[in-house]
């Protein structure tokens, strides 16, 4: 197991190099000069050739491309993501400050969507073609097609503006009590988790249906095991691999969705930082956020792979 993890981590090195190159090219290769983009955002500066050349030298943009990339890589390894052209703060520090908010939101969305979707999927499979199965089907069809930003606005409209139950936006803090945290968290987390829940419920249903038709389930029932035990212990455990795979893949969409959700709910996370930085033409920060989101995503997928073994002892990794 340890050897498998080590091998997987080693195999990630070329992938990480590729990712770093694409992220690097966002700022340095794609058309659009970062320095003139930055200067154009500030009306008080009339850029003359000298200032531009000076700034280009300051950010290392006058070096050959390959040198720039190597410097970028060397800095990355030191945990240096560059300096924000807007706030003059180190990008890594800015992102680290915002990280807890995004993690809180994403985890809450993940918890809510699995807590809702897996039981619903199981019930739909066990009671196939019942009214609850049909209801879940309609719900997941809507959930897959509904734009998250629209759902977010509808929730805000209902629960904040009309009923006045929940705060309109922003994040709660623990020193104001757990209630404050939860009241701020519930709407954005539900919005973010809804689409994922819809898909997860469908996958759980089809995966459970497949497992429930197997012989060992009939055996378990035949030997008189309690129905709940058969469904949750024997069937669900074996249906879990596809569920886990989809959860892992969907986590990327969760991260992408957080950009939109954080913007709607003024959530002080990395997603909102990314959007604000695009508006401020602060490409170094955008670059950093893309990199961090992608790293989280591939780490989650690695974790999912490792979790397979924990769930299914038949999977051997040698």
């Amino acid at each position: 197991m340890t050897r498998y993890i080590a091998r997987r981590l080693l195999a990630m090195i070329p992938l990480l190099l590729g990712i770093s190159f694409i992220v690097f090219s966002l700022l340095n290769i794609l058309p659009g000069d970062p320095v003139s983009i930055m200067l154009s955002s500030n009306p008080h500066i009339t850029p003359d050739a000298e200032t531009i050349a000076q700034l280009r030298a300051q950010y290392g943009l006058d070096q050959p491309l390959m040198t720039q990339y190597l410097i970028f890589l060397r800095n990355l390894l030191k945990g240096d993501l560059g300096t924000s052209m807007y706030t003059q703060q180190p990008v890594a520090v800015t992102i680290l400050e915002r990280m807890p908010a995004t993690i809180q939101l994403a985890l809450a969305a993940l918890v809510i969507s699995t807590a809702v979707a897996i039981p619903l999927g199981v019930i739909s499979a066990v009671k196939q073609y019942s009214w609850i199965d049909h209801l879940c089907l309609v719900g997941s069809l809507v959930g897959i097609s509904m734009p998250s930003f629209w759902l977010g606005l509808l929730l805000m409209l209902t629960f904040s503006l009309r009923l006045r139950w929940l705060p309109l936006s922003g994040m709660g803090y623990l020193h104001n009590g757990l209630g404050d945290v939860l009241r701020h968290l519930i709407m954005p987390a539900c919005t973010l988790g809804f689409g994922m829940a819809a898909l997860l419920a469908r996958v759980t249903r089809s995966s459970m249906l497949e497992v429930l038709g197997q012989d060992y389930i009939r055996t378990a029932r035949a030997k008189g095991l309690h129905d709940k035990l058969v469904v949750y212990r024997h069937a669900l455990r074996n249906a879990f691999i596809p569920i886990l795979t989809v959860s892992g893949m969907q986590f990327g969409y969760l991260l992408g969705g957080s950009v939109i959700i954080e913007t709607i709910f003024s959530w002080p996370g990395i997603g909102r930082l990314a959007v604000n930085s695009i508006m401020n033409r602060d490409l170094a920060v955008v670059q950093g956020t893309v990199l961090v989101f992608t790293l989280i995503f591939i780490l989650i997928n690695l974790l999912v792979d490792i979790l397979y073994a924990a769930i299914d002892p038949r999977i051997q990794y040698d």
Binding site: L141, I144, F149
Partner: protein
């Protein structure tokens, strides 16, 4: 579609037309797919005929009548903060969704088809390299990558379409590659080669036509996702720029007036959902009709 409604009276499986005919009969039996087809036909048909159908100019402001509610005389869906007719803007906004759907899928499917068939046909180092590139694309959360590239290229509908096309092709490439690997050794390919067909001819005239079923399914679902992503980007202010009518950016503009004019939030969101749902239904129906073995996991 009219041609498909009366399939030729030849035994099934002889000609291509009958295969399409059989698929259409299968598709027709799927009620959700027909609903989807209806929704999309209406939304895009109306968008194409916007010049004749839209009651007002979508840019025409009427500052004396801002934020009229749904059902106001002359403005069935009300007006926005500048007094512009919401119905007309929704109708014109359909054009953006139509072009996003077609252009994005056009770019990603053609790139994916070409790279996929080349990768699967030649194997070797070309295959290895192309597949590592697709791995790399799959390592990124797709919306995040799209945002990063938009940040570098600048906002606007053209860049959004370009970016979404360029980040979604690997799905098509993987599928076509897998199909090509399976078909490469088939007798009909051997026969074509024996008859003197070159590599290009075999790839594009013999192998690719056999991949078309799953590609059509992916294209329908891909359009749904492209429209969802593009309207999301417009909502963030990175896509279509105001005052141009587009459903996502209409929602963005409506946020400020949510309290006083909730219809400005309701209507565009509902239309986006209908368009995405319609395409998803069509995609599911096509999958059942063309490619029953394909998995139900998507996105």
């Amino acid at each position: 579609m009219a041609k498909l409604e009366s399939p030729p009276r030849v035994p099934a499986s002889i000609t291509d037309g009958s295969r399409a005919g059989r698929a259409w009969r299968q598709f027709r039996r799927n009620r959700l797919a027909l609903i989807g087809l209806g929704i999309i036909t209406v939304l895009w048909g109306v968008a194409l005929l916007a010049d004749y159908i839209a009651p007002y100019d979508p840019y025409e402001m009427d500052l004396l009548n801002p934020l009229l509610p749904v059902g106001s005389p002359g403005h069935p869906l009300g007006t926005d903060n500048f007094g512009r007719d919401v119905l007309s803007r929704i109708i014109w906004g359909g054009r953006a969704s139509l072009s996003v759907g077609i252009v994005v899928v056009g770019i990603s499917a053609s790139l994916g088809l070409i790279l996929g068939v080349v990768s699967g046909y030649y194997s070797g180092w070309i295959d290895l390299m192309l597949m590592r590139i697709t791995d790399l694309f799959f390592a990124f959360p797709f919306f995040i990558l799209a945002i990063g590239v938009i940040a570098a290229l600048g906002p606007g509908l053209r860049n959004v379409m370009l970016v979404l096309g360029l980040v979604t092709w690997p799905e098509y490439a993987r599928m076509v590659r897998a199909k090509t690997l399976a078909l490469r050794g088939e007798p009909f390919v051997e026969a074509a080669r024996a008859a003197g067909a070159g590599d290009l001819r075999i790839m594009f005239f013999h192998i690719l036509p056999n991949c078309i079923g799953p590609v059509i399914v992916m294209a329908a679902l891909g359009m749904a996702n492209a429209i969802l992503a593009a309207s999301g980007l417009s909502f963030l202010g990175l896509g279509v720029q105001p005052p141009e009518p587009e459903w996502g950016s209409m929602l963005n503009e409506a946020r400020v007036y949510m309290r006083t004019a909730p219809h400005l939030v309701m209507v565009p969101g509902l239309v986006i959902m209908l368009a995405v749902m319609g395409l998803n239904f069509i995609g599911d129906g096509l999958r059942d009709a063309l490619d029953p073995k394909m998995s139900t996991i998507r996105r």
